[in-house]
Symmetry: C2
Subunit: 382 residues, 2 copies
């Protein structure tokens, strides 16, 4: 059983698997990289028990079989091989050669290795009865914009995930830790109505894999306790088909709609980059407990100030105001994180000095409600 | 008391102090950055108790005084100030402003802050009776080439330092952990005969500071239990004068000359980069205990091989041999570290399959003995 792969093709796709496959695990088989050979297709696969990933490459293959190689030395070697081509020959061991280098790697018997179920890009399949097609870039934005707001606390387990809401109105992603909330809406009707909560760490892997996918469409599929991704079919010349499955969390978010404010006596619009930089500087002086930064909105400007053990800091930035000037204080970290997905101009909608504020990118404030990114940040009590 | 400093000048020199001044210390005053104002000179200084550092800048100054500011917020702020100029005004607090940003930082009383003694670039001074002038680049090479070989083990305390040997023959730096040895010789007669052992961690700081100094001459000065560095006088337009002092270790290295082999039945010359890459690949397969890689020298080539739990690896690289072919095994990590300061071509001088080998850059093998870099690596017993 033999296959020859261009080194660049192998390194590029192996790097996707490298972060999923653990270096240590209570199940030692999880530390192995799977390689499956079938006519015309080499499949690389791995799992950490939470996230399963496979990459299928269209290559000329001799023979059929499924093999587990120790992932760590394989990854280390593949990165630094001297030749442009890598030859893999499977027998009792894997014989790998490239340029003047050759190695024999021991193989593990694959008894006990879990069977991995991935969705099909072509349509619903077992165990994924629900399926929708999305642009890779849209799904990437929906996940990456809200991820920061997920909780790290043990005691609010459900908030340690990102909720995906599929409905005829569209797809919405939501994350919260109970103190702040981030939402991203895609106004594209979905073929089913369902909520699914993905662990935040698995969201990180999805974001990474979607980023590597670049452009095109991706099938997003749901089944009992599982969510899957699949890019389109195999390309020739080879380019990997990537499929992914992540375990879902049980339960769903409590009703969060009621904390989203609807009326705003003040709207402040500013350059995100200038605001972020000023906020960072001023927050250096903030107390280390609640990172409090005071914002005083006045005609044409916002005055940022903070005071802590080291002293006081202040800075003014230009803003465009609509409404009644007011003063408010935030945890600078929360506000900086809410700004983190943004660039260009943004608007902060203030419902009052102690009630939740809403942050939007400028373009979104004009478009339909529920579209794009929104963040809810709660002011600190004065 | 006021001074205005170009932001770039301040950030560049503050970054030198940033690594020395600790974020936490059993002496809380060590977490402060010192600023001393005197006519025409602003001095920034700091210490961690082992390494003292000061930078003097030629600037127009109003008033005189010595102030301690909390280093962490100062460093954080200085990096991100919005203006091109930074104004510092000292009173009961430090008032710092730059562009639209301003801050008041609390100051600490400097009672209890240690007095720092630095050498003078102009010649011997208290407490530095011995002094020599070296090129910044030469001293940087002498320290950075041997640092890797210093020990991390507690029980051989003296080997956790780098020994500097001053004599009429020149300056030599030596590091060892008892298993390998690195030397760097400068064939430039020194005005005194002395050995001094600098803790390896202080050597790291010296290397970093010398790198930032770039070119030119540096005074290296010795006193009881202390070693100091000083660059030339103040420049106008401003450029920092940097001075440094490090505590020395007590004692000196045991005689290491006897482990340096003198006769070699085999000399192997190779491209460092190709050898290093092959060694890295093959060593992925080496056992994790002693990282053993076997080298078989044959006419025109070296065959590298390793075997461990994961399997076996082998690779051939071209070498030029002079002498009798032989086989030898090394700890791959030690050999890789010995190669780390090198590029271009190098020669490995083998005294036998179980006796120490000597590694030289190719150019050094031709020049006078004791000049440049040499590493002693001991083969593993077969």
């Amino acid at each position: 059983m033999k296959v020859t792969i261009p080194k660049n093709l192998l390194t590029e796709h192996v790097s996707l698997l490298e972060r999923v496959i653990p270096t240590r695990s209570s199940n030692p088989l999880f530390t192995y990289l799977g390689l499956a050979l079938s006519p015309g297709v080499l499949t690389l696969f791995g799992t950490n028990g939470e996230v399963d990933l496979e990459v299928r490459l269209h290559l000329s293959i001799e023979g059929e079989g499924r093999f587990l190689v120790p992932a760590q030395p394989f990854f280390q070697l593949v990165r630094s091989l001297p030749g442009d081509q890598v030859e893999l020959a499977f027998g009792a061991e894997l014989f790998l050669s490239s340029g003047s280098f050759s190695t024999r790697l021991s193989l593990a018997p694959d008894e006990g290795y879990p069977e991995l179920f991935f969705p099909s890009h072509e349509g619903p399949s077992e165990p994924y009865p629900l399926q929708t097609l999305l642009s890779v870039e849209e799904l990437h934005r929906a996940l990456s914009h809200v991820r920061y707001a997920a909780s790290n606390e043990e005691y609010r387990a459900i908030f340690r995930g990102v909720q995906l809401e599929f409905s005829e109105k569209g797809l919405r992603s939501v994350a919260s830790d109970g103190y702040r909330l981030a939402l991203y809406g895609l106004a594209k009707p979905q073929p089913f109505t369902k909520k699914a909560v993905v662990p935040a760490r698995s969201v990180d892997e999805m974001v990474r894999v979607l980023k590597a996918m670049g452009e095109g469409e991706v099938a997003l599929a749901l089944g009992p306790g599982i969510l899957g991704l699949a890019t389109g079919g195999l390309a020739d010349p080879p380019q990997g088909q990537v499929r992914m499955a992540v375990r879902l969390m049980e339960g769903e978010f409590p009703d969060y709609e009621r904390v989203i404010p609807k009326e705003f006596p003040l709207k402040a619009t500013f350059e995100v980059e200038a605001f972020r930089e000023a906020l960072r500087r001023v927050s250096v002086l903030a107390d280390r407990q609640n990172h409090r930064v005071d914002l005083m909105f006045e005609e044409g400007r916002a005055l940022l100030s903070a005071e802590g053990d080291y002293g006081k800091g202040r800075e003014e930035i230009p803003v465009r105001l609509e409404g009644t000037p007011l003063a408010v204080a935030y945890n600078a970290r929360y506000l900086l994180e809410a700004l983190s997905p943004l660039s260009g101009e943004a608007s902060l909608f203030l419902s009052g000095p102690t009630s939740p504020s809403l942050l939007h990118p400028l373009e979104a404030s004009a478009s339909s409600p529920g579209e794009g990114y929104q963040a809810v940040v709660v002011p600190l009590r004065v």
